[in-house]
Symmetry: C2
Subunit: 182 residues, 2 copies
Amino acid sequence: MKHLEEKVISSQQIFTGRFLKIERDQVQAPDGKIYTREYILHPGAAMIIPLLPNGNVVMVHQYRHAVKQVFLEFPAGKRDANEVTLDTAKRELKEETGYEAKDWKFLTTIHPVIGYSNEHIDLYLAQDTNLSQRQLDHGEFIEVVEVPPQDLMRYVREGKVTDVKTQIGSFWLDKFLRGEWN
Amino acid sequence: MKHLEEKVISSQQIFTGRFLKIERDQVQAPDGKIYTREYILHPGAAMIIPLLPNGNVVMVHQYRHAVKQVFLEFPAGKRDANEVTLDTAKRELKEETGYEAKDWKFLTTIHPVIGYSNEHIDLYLAQDTNLSQRQLDHGEFIEVVEVPPQDLMRYVREGKVTDVKTQIGSFWLDKFLRGEWN
């Protein structure tokens, strides 16, 4: 795939907001010409599928201002500096839902915004879960809900789970619970 | 879900790059306090799952500079002003792959970046396809490939299809071809 790659000519952080950072690169494309590429700099994230002993999954309702909707999501959050994503997953699960888990399984890495962000999200399945204490971040308003996996697949099909990380987690959970992928 | 919503106090476009635009809003959260939210303004997009008469799907290899990798993707592209996404889908399928299709089916809408972009992507299944003429945009370097659906699900499982829209399209295609969703 080398013949499709672009060579970086120059690279500059052109915007620093309160939350978002933008990089602008000049690249040399396969045709030899110079093009401009802009993208968000993101530290990476982790998402957790917390499977309870009763067979339900723990999820959250959260209002997302960018889309101006309340979403049904799996717990997730941004990686802190120097943090491995398994630690991010453990931290975010506890902060957002109050749950801890003894059995952690890495599922896959996904790239949500390949057109304009370097974000990746590592997905984990958390089992052997038990309820501890929530510790929400300042300015986070999150409602915890339990969902049976069969309802979740119906929500996906009906367009009620449109957040990509959550929809992908739902499909991986479906494959896992059917015994097709494990 | 009203009790989780945030009320917009003020709204301002604070960055306009060559490609990216950022909005910064002041919002009043459920606790009554004022918070800042920043997000990318995006016109929306369409993705196409082009199913050939021979049972394969048409996909593209494309280098994505934000992640600095070549991705295996379903054809997709941004909506033009005043364009409905079905027209975006027809246009992008022809531009990127040279294929046209007579049978179009809307599958679902997804939100790839609910934390910091208002982007949505409408997914379409295109059947009764026939090869016409490619018309790549300036600065696009795209290689067209045919993939059997069973290989695609293996690639997803093995972490070789990490682009979220493409992974979600692969799962929907799997459900469609199994006759579970149609």
